[in-house]
């Protein structure tokens, strides 16, 4: 089958540069400012961009979620702020050490490393990881750097399989030559280099079982595709990897999830970022990603009615509704990037039919069906949703 334009590799648009000295310089600048304030008898503070829905907007032009300019000022001399002020400085000092020693730490390690009893009190610097995580998020927003750039790694999840050669430190390997297992994506991908890229596009797959199915059916080889298994919601590492593959290597990104509000949310996050991480859209989101399925149209087109499942919750027109799945779908209908005919139609259909359809339900036709018919047909005909 001839390939459609949708899946042809494009020219690279950006080149990744990771400069640890930038982070170090910024940390020092903040420290010096605090010190100057206190010396002249001024109450020292940090200005931190506010988090949450109240401080994000959709950049129509670049089509990503962005952070607004609302600031919250965190003072030293304020009973409600003092503890957080101290915690912010503790984490900043810790990050400085990590980056200068070229070490990486998990969020939990960062918590434990900075937790200790404050001398002369029974109070700990951090009582709970729920105290340190938000401080790290604050620093990301405040300094405009990814936590990975501060050498704080997120939980890792996901793996890839396909004919690309990656350099990671001294190692070089082809991710299609690692057996069925594929290559596990680490928490931080900043340091990876793409040595060879012999695929036409990347297919991002929600479930490991479906990714394994495609590998077993030799789909990556036959279709010249890189399989990226997210294993649920895409981790930051995977999203950053997708972003880099798209912008640095020009790979078209095609997303393949379950046909349900959760699957569409996964797509939405890969494409546009999440509200929580709006400040990272520039580095984590890939607005040009496209969606291959599952769609509501697939149900009729491929005769899958038998293997749909009921949506959970109460529909909007019933008493007490909408709840659960129905509520999520209605929320998704409001997303700026779903403001187009195609998506509105899908989402409305889902509510009307009251069902969801899983990727693996395609196995009802036959095991090969997804790899031999469903995906090639839709992708090569460019039957993709925006």
């Amino acid at each position: 089958m001839p390939k459609s334009k949708a899946v042809r590799r494009e020219k690279p648009r950006e080149r990744f540069s990771y400069d640890p000295t930038k982070v170090l310089t910024r940390l020092e600048e903040y420290g010096k400012k605090i010190l100057e304030d206190i010396k002249i008898g001024k109450n020292p503070y940090f200005d931190i961009p506010m988090r949450g829905i109240g401080n994000v907007y959709f950049d129509e032009k670049r089509r990503v979620i962005r952070m607004g300019d609302k600031l919250s000022r965190r003072y030293f001399l304020n009973v409600a702020h003092a503890r957080k002020f101290m915690q912010t400085l503790l984490i900043m000092a810790y990050v400085k050490r990590l980056v200068s020693e070229n070490k990486h730490a998990s969020l939990r390690e960062a918590y434990y490393a900075n937790k200790h009893t404050i001398p002369g009190t029974k109070e700990n610097t951090f009582e709970d990881q729920r105290e340190s995580d938000p401080i790290i998020e604050d620093l990301e927003r405040m300094m405009g750097v990814l936590r990975e750039e501060m050498h704080l790694t997120a939980d890792r999840r996901g793996y890839i399989y396909g004919d690309i050669v990656i350099r990671d430190g001294e190692d070089e390997f082809n991710t299609s030559k690692l057996g069925m297992g594929g290559w596990a994506v680490p928490g931080t991908v900043e340091h990876l280099q793409f040595v060879e890229v012999n695929v036409d596009y990347a297919l991002v797959v929600e479930t490991a079982a479906m990714a394994d199915r495609l590998i077993e059916e030799k789909f990556p080889k036959k279709e010249k595709a890189l399989i990226i298994a997210t294993q649920g919601q895409a981790s930051r590492g995977v999203r950053r990897l997708i972003h880099r593959l798209h912008y640095e290597e020009g790979l078209p990104i095609i997303v393949f999830t379950d046909g349900d509000p959760y699957g569409w949310y996964i797509y939405s996050t890969i494409k546009q970022g999440s509200i929580n991480l709006a400040y990272l859209s520039d580095k984590l989101a890939t607005p040009e990603a496209k969606f291959v399925g599952m769609t509501m149209d697939d149900i009729e087109r491929y005769g899958l009615k038998n293997v749909t499942e009921k949506l959970k919750g109460i529909p909007p027109n019933k008493k007490g509704g909408p709840t659960a799945d129905y509520k999520r779908i209605l929320e998704e209908m409001e997303y700026p990037w779903f403001q187009n005919r195609e998506w509105q139609r899908q989402l409305k259909m889902a509510i009307k039919m009251g069902v969801r359809i899983e990727q693996q339900a395609l196995a009802n036709k036959s095991l090969e069906f997804v790899a031999k018919k469903y995906l090639p047909e839709k992708i090569n005909n460019g039957e993709l949703l925006p």
Binding site: I38, G41, Y75, F76, L77, H81, F85, K96, R97, T125
Partner: protein, 565 residues
């Protein structure tokens, strides 16, 4: 088929006492613990009422002797005015006899059943007569054993002795022997009942000797005998047709007008003129055929436009004259229908609120004394609201006391009273409970009500307390009453809040400063890492900044502005 006459052969008349013997639960004799409490309640109430009426500072002593399993002797002695010999059988032996039941007066007790009910309860459980020793302070002490002749509802003195009274003792001591009851120190038992009574009656000295011989004293903390409540004339808005009708039959006044002016509160001669107009207007409105017009006229009447309404009818003066004539009739000639007309007119008229001089609150000072004396709290306050009216014409008054800390253990406690009498049962549905729970205590620095060392007492005073049931242990949720209770609680709680704030202010300032200081070493270490400045220096910058800030505050006194970004 049996003949009617035959059937009625068995027709007999039962006495009141017989009725209550069979229905003792109606009088509070239900359950082994509650029955004993009821006996004590009746006797103590009698003592306190009698002392109050006589202006005596009461001394009441309750003694419980255990005679066997669920078998007790109960002794209640007071220093009251004593009972004249000829009234002994009436007071203790005849039900529905008393000095207050038939009057419109605030009263602690049941309506003339109380103590004779206790005598009957003793009699049917133990078979024993009640021993009464009393003297009015004259030269004789009467000792009498009283029983109730249940079939005749009459007191019967089984045995009587007279003793000389050389020391001029005055008072009454009664001894009842009861079975099928149990003494327990629970919240529905006697100890608790007397404790609550003592709190609400700081002018009374109350003692209790428990079955094991333990003496408990609730000492007097006020030397003022409360004024006895006085009878209040009924308010026009608080009466039913039946009341007016029956009062009219009994009065000795010469005319209906004089009867109304004389026996109701807030009715003056001028009000009678108004009443005449309203009755006339109502008569005329009833002749109107068009329902809509009629409805409008009623509304206008409600707004007080009585003269305008009258004038809208032709020949209205004739009707007014008829009504005026009615007012001159002898009251015993008042017909039910006319009484209905009067009561209906009352509903449209405006009256001053009912007089409240008959209500006898405990008073803020005395509540504080009572709570302090019995509970030994760290802080106490009380609020007595001014009297209000519910259901249009029934006066009532609310007071609350609030005690905090000191010897009060943790756990919120609500003490409920109606006319100073403790309510021990059915707390859940009581308006006092609802009101207390509806207050947002956290607003008053009481963060966890259920653990706070807090006692709240609520006393609802009225000639007619709206109880929820025949047990008279729970006050109905009347909106006006709930509002008054809430206002009183909030007022008292505000005082508590002020106290709690004051107590902590100094502590608070030191704690604040410490809050900032304790973080300085951590901050210094971190800033030193970030900037390379020596840790010691950074620490000093911060400490002297804090020092300066709090020094400025001591002198300036204002809150730092800079904190509120």
């Amino acid at each position: 088929m049996a003949e009617a006459n035959q059937l009625f052969k068995e027709f007999k008349i039962q006495s009141v006492s017989e009725f209550f013997r069979r229905n003792a639960a109606m009088l509070g004799y239900t359950g082994k613990i509650r029955s004993l409490t009821t006996v004590i309640h009746e006797a103590v109430t009698n003592s306190l009422d009698a002392c109050e009426e006589a202006g005596i500072l009461p001394y009441v002593r309750v003694e419980i002797e255990e005679l066997g399993r669920e078998h007790y002797k109960v002794i209640i002695e007071d220093n009251g005015p004593g009972i004249p010999e000829k009234y002994i059988t009436h007071v203790f032996g005849k039900m529905l006899a008393g000095t207050k039941a038939h009057r419109n007066i605030q009263s602690r007790g049941q309506q003339g059943i109380g103590i004779s009910g206790a005598v009957m309860f003793a009699q049917i459980t133990s078979g024993k007569a009640t021993r009464v020793i009393t003297s009015t302070g004259d030269d004789r002490i009467i000792e009498a054993w009283v029983k109730i002749d249940v079939d005749r509802n009459e007191g019967k003195i089984v045995k009587k002795e007279k003793h000389p009274n050389p020391k001029g003792w005055r008072g009454t001591r009664i001894e009842l022997e009861v079975k099928n009851v149990r003494y327990v120190r629970s919240k529905q038992g006697i100890y608790w009942y007397l404790k609550l009574t003592a709190i609400a009656n700081p002018h009374a000295h109350i003692e209790l000797i428990e079955p094991d011989g333990k003496l408990i004293v609730f000492p007097r903390s006020s030397e003022d005998v409360p004024e006895p409540p006085v009878e209040m004339k009924p308010h026009p808005r608080g009466v039913l047709t039946d009341d007016v009708y029956r009062m009219a039959k009994k009065t000795r006044r010469s005319s209906i007008k004089r009867f109304l002016v004389g026996e109701f509160s807030r009715i003056s001669d001028k009000k009678i003129d108004e009443l005449i107009e309203y009755i006339a207007a109502l008569r005329l409105i009833k002749t109107e055929k068009d329902k809509n017009v009629q409805e409008q006229l009623y509304e206008r009447l409600m707004k007080g436009e009585v003269k305008a309404v009258l004038r809208s009818f032709k020949g209205y003066t004739k009707v007014v004259k008829q009504v005026a004539k009615l007012m001159e009739k002898p009251p015993e000639k008042l017909s039910w229908h006319e009484a209905e007309e009067i009561v209906e007119a009352f509903k449209y008229m405006k009256f001053l609120a009912p007089p409240t001089h008959g209500l006898r609150p405990i008073g803020e000072e005395n509540i504080e004394k009572g709570l302090t004396n019995i509970l030994k709290p760290e802080f106490v306050t009380a609020v007595t609201r001014s009297p209000k009216v519910y259901s249009g014409g029934i006066p009532f008054q609310v007071e609350v006391g609030l005690a905090y800390g000191g010897e009060i253990p943790g756990g919120f406690e609500l003490l409920r009273y109606a006319n100073r009498v403790p309510l021990l049962f059915d707390a859940g549905s009581c308006v006092t409970t609802l009101a207390a729970r509806s207050v947002d205590w956290r607003r008053y620095k009481v963060d966890d009500l259920d653990r706070a060392p807090l006692v709240l007492m609520i006393n609802v005073i009225s000639v007619h307390v709206p109880y929820t049931g025949t047990g008279k242990q729970s006050i109905a949720n009347v909106e006006e009453i709930q509002n008054e209770i809430r206002l009183a609680i909030m007022d008292a709680a505000r005082k508590l809040q002020t106290y709690l704030s004051g107590k902590h202010r100094r502590l608070h300032q030191a704690k604040r400063r410490r809050t900032f200081e304790k973080y300085v070493p951590e901050i210094a270490k971190a800033l030193s890492v970030l900037t390379g400045e020596p840790e010691e220096d950074v620490r000093n910058y911060f400490l002297s900044y804090i020092e300066g800030h709090f020094a400025a505050k001591e002198t300036g006194g204002a809150e730092e502005v800079s904190e509120n970004a």
